[in-house]
Amino acid sequence: MTGLGATMVRAGRRLLSSLPALFGVLVFTFLLMRVLPGDPAVFFASGPNAGKEEIEQIRKQMGLNRPVPEQLVFYLSDIGHGNLGRSMMTGQPVLKDLRERLPASLELTFTALLIALIAAVPLGVVAALRPGSVVDHGVRLFCALGVCVPTFVSGLLLIYVFYYLLGLAPDPTGRIDVFTSLPPQRTGFLSIDFLLAGDFEGWWAACKQLVLPAVSMALFVIAPLARITRASMLVSLGSDFVRTARSVGLSWRKVVVTYALRNAILPVITIAGIVFSTMLGANVLVEKVFSWPGVASYALDALLSSDYAPVQGFVLLMASLFVLVNLVVDVCYGIADPRVSIE
């Protein structure tokens, strides 16, 4: 297919054009971390009464005594070698920390987005099919509630109801309870690793842990997705080609799904991409509430203790993911809409 080829070429070009932006993010975070108050050397000294000499030595060890441009050059060359530095907090290389924690964040975000889409698209479609009806207003109310309740509040509420009152959910701490033996790590996504290992009991346990945090994140993003689905579905249902489809007597299902919804889904793809990137960075609250060992809470801890390397690594990771997500959205769009590849 030439259309697919053209999409790939476009995606490649987009990837190249985002490299300067990534570099900019890199330099910007580096400088930002240097101007933020707090001296890491003091923080990481052996104790509150560490001598001046000791602090000076740590500073030298961290390279903080050199001029900032020089530090930047060192930092960039390190990154060029795939070395994101070492976290003072965990004592491990940042790359290793991120690699361990990223799958947890991704698993949570993907699940939340999936739940949000599964809920939002039908809600939007139902609302659009009967605009102004009770259903439409019900969907609007639901969306408004989802947006106005902060994720940590909805998270705590969910814990209160499903763990404390009903006892349906497991102890809301971490990805899996401590007594379950972990499967061999392949993808890092626990639910998938358990399946690959054939351990269904473990899989079920992991899923149960995942549901509450994912739902509380999903609640927050259902609203934009449902609203955009409703709006574009309304446009689509009122368009000339839907009238054509009705004029030849196509079945209701075919008119609504094949003709109206497939056209209406295009803007939803774009919004889903944006929502995904936002969720990935903003899920720190949910990670904190559910003690989820993700990258966002890791970065927050690092930031609070003036640990430069993890924060810089985190920002770089987020920027790269953002580029990647945009790329995926682009490719999806090119496949879904044949008009895009022509420019």
């Binding site: 009122g238 368009s239 000339d240 080609f241 009238r243 054509t244 489809a245 009705r246 004029s247 030849v248 007597g249 196509l250 079945s251 075919k254 094949t258 003709y259 497939r262 056209n263 295009l266 879904a336 809409d337 044949p338 008009r339 022509i342």
Partner: protein, 556 residues
């Protein structure tokens, strides 16, 4: 073949709007026999499309049949529900729509769209449906149908899309085809090809057709019987010849007069009684320009290339004297709009020069031309009167804006007098000035557009299809207005249009463009009566031609 296929009996359709129920169709009665082609003619808002949509049950949620019956083969269509209705739609009656590209699903290959329609009504395999779809593409004369099966609507021209639409509509051999303005928006030559195709297919398959159109000439060319609608009612029904020679109803008379034909003059476009009212304006003959006066506008070897590299306009030269009217005609893509915009200095030419009143303006960047003192001498009237007025400006603001920007006038009594004077000159009632565009009718908006353009007393007015979006009766009035302004104020008109009948009436000279180059130019009447090139001949022949018998000629 003379059995009655469709009978509409005292049909009433209402729409619920914010201001309550509005009755769009008030008592339409008509019959269609099997295999015949009936023309349903009327201006916008006459209820002709609504009648069509009511018949195929495609009214939107706000519309409702409030009275009357629509009997299709003796069965009342208005009472059908669910599966009975779906068996009717597409299989027994189908519809062709106005804007063909929008009427097709933009993200579904056209072959699949045709197959969708087939599979709804026939129990056959997907491959068989595909084969049938291919056959249909051949039947509607699409070249290279095998590859086109996988094409998407945006890859096809408007005419091609309409052929695909016809293929979908005839896919299940319906007995009745309703074509709602099937060729509006297509080029004249494409229009003729598509209409011929439609007529041939309908005749070959014995389908009855209702041709809904605003174009009396088009209906006269293809239909044996024409029903004229006005404000939700059928006012007259007759054969085309009778309709044109002895129109009975006053509205039909007005419509017949307003439809331009090969021989009509601007004065003929309104009926006798209306002409009386207009007669107060005495047309004075234009004084011959003194010998040796430089021409008002001189265009030398103008060319425009867009990014893709191919030239949109190449080697275009023309001259215009003050007060002259020149027509620029051609099909879409011929470069006529690009040329007019370059002359207006809205876009920059790639090569060549434009000399206005002895001053070279071709090299002034279009971005800076608004500062040139010549800006107010060259003004433009745009195609769409709805889109070209700022929705947040009242009619007064629209007309006052160029006066303030270009003539440096300040808000006050003098400005008010100037605006009112402009409004009077274009026949816009003064009490409409405080209104916003959405509170004005199409014709009134067109007048605001013209008043705005003449506010600074330009010497050259460039008009880009100024009447394309208007009803014929409104078009007649606007054309007369333009002609009068030209005579009274000695404004030169550069008139861009695809409607040859209009150009023939309004313009002294005509330039025919094709693919960005001049094909032919000359004095309008001579050029149309005796075209020298095949292309011009094809254009002229494609105009829906009304058979003006000797009786009609005498009546005029």
């Amino acid at each position: 073949m003379s059995e009655e296929l469709l009978r509409i009996d005292d049909l009433h359709v209402s729409f619920s709007t914010r201001r309550g129920m509005v009755e769009a169709v008030r008592g339409v009665t008509l019959t269609v026999k099997a295999g015949e082609m009936l023309g349903l003619v009327g201006e916008s808002g006459s209820g002709k499309s609504v009648t069509g949509f009511a018949t195929t049950r495609l009214l939107d949620a706000a519309g409702r049949v409030t009275g009357g019956k629509i009997l299709f083969r003796g069965q009342d269509v208005t009472k059908l529900r669910g599966d009975d209705l779906r068996q009717l739609q597409g299989a027994a009656m189908s519809m062709i729509f106005q804007n063909p590209r929008a009427a097709l699903n933009p993200i579904r290959a056209i072959g699949l769209q045709i197959a969708d329609a087939i599979l709804t009504h026939k129990r056959i395999s997907k491959d068989a449906a595909r084969a049938e779809a291919l056959e249909l593409l051949r039947a509607v004369q699409i070249r290279d149908p095998e590859t086109r099966m996988n094409a998407y609507p945006h890859e096809l021209s408007g005419g091609m899309c309409q052929r695909v639409m016809i293929a979908i509509a005839i896919s299940c051999n319906p007995a009745l085809l309703i074509a709602d303005e099937p060729t509006t928006g297509l080029d004249v030559t494409t229009q003729k090809v598509v209409m011929d195709l439609l007529a041939d297919i309908a005749a070959a398959r014995g389908m009855a057709t209702i041709l809904i159109t605003h174009d009396l000439g088009l209906a006269a060319r293809y239909c044996r019987r024409i029903a004229v609608m006005e404000r939700g009612r059928i006012v007259e029904e007759a054969g085309p010849r009778t309709l044109f020679s002895t129109p009975q109803h006053a509205y039909t008379r007005r419509l017949v007069a307003a439809s331009p034909t090969a021989t009509s003059r601007i004065e003929d476009l309104v009926t006798e009684e209306e002409r009386e009212r207009q007669a107060t304006f005495v047309s004075k003959p234009r004084p011959e320009p003194a010998h040796g006066t430089p021409p008002l506008l001189q265009v030398r070897k103008l060319a425009k290339r867009f990014d893709q590299g191919s030239a949109a306009v190449a080697d275009f030269s023309m001259t215009m004297a003050g007060g002259e009217s020149v027509g620029l005609v051609g099909e879409s893509g011929s470069g006529k709009s690009t040329t007019s915009r370059m002359i207006c200095r809205l876009i920059d030419p790639s090569e060549g020069d434009i000399v206005f009143d002895g001053q070279s303006i071709g090299h002034v960047a279009s971005r800076d031309f608004h500062r040139s003192p010549l800006r107010k001498d060259i003004q433009m009237v745009f195609q769409d009167p709805n889109e070209s007025l700022n929705p947040r400006f009242t009619a007064f603001d629209c007309i006052a804006h160029p006066l303030m920007r270009l003539d440096g006038m300040r808000a006050g009594e003098a400005l008010r007098t100037r605006v009112e004077e402009c409004a009077e000159r274009v026949g816009l009632p003064l009490d409409l000035l405080p209104r916003f565009p959405h509170q004005l009718s199409g014709g009134q908006k067109a007048r605001v557009g013209i008043a705005r353009a003449i506010a600074c007393r330009p010497r050259l007015l460039v008009l880009d299809e100024p009447t394309a979006a208007l009803d014929v009766s409104v078009q007649a009035v606007v054309l007369q207005l333009l002609d009068r302004l030209r005579r009274e104020n000695d404004i030169a008109l550069l008139f861009v249009s695809h409607d040859l009948n209009v150009v023939r009436m309004l313009c002294d000279r005509t330039i025919v463009l094709r693919n960005g180059g001049i094909v032919e130019q000359g004095e309008s009447r001579a050029l149309f009566d005796n075209p020298k090139t095949d292309y011009t001949r094809k254009l002229v022949e494609a105009i829906p031609h009304i058979e003006t018998g000797p009786t009609l000629a005498a009546a005029l």
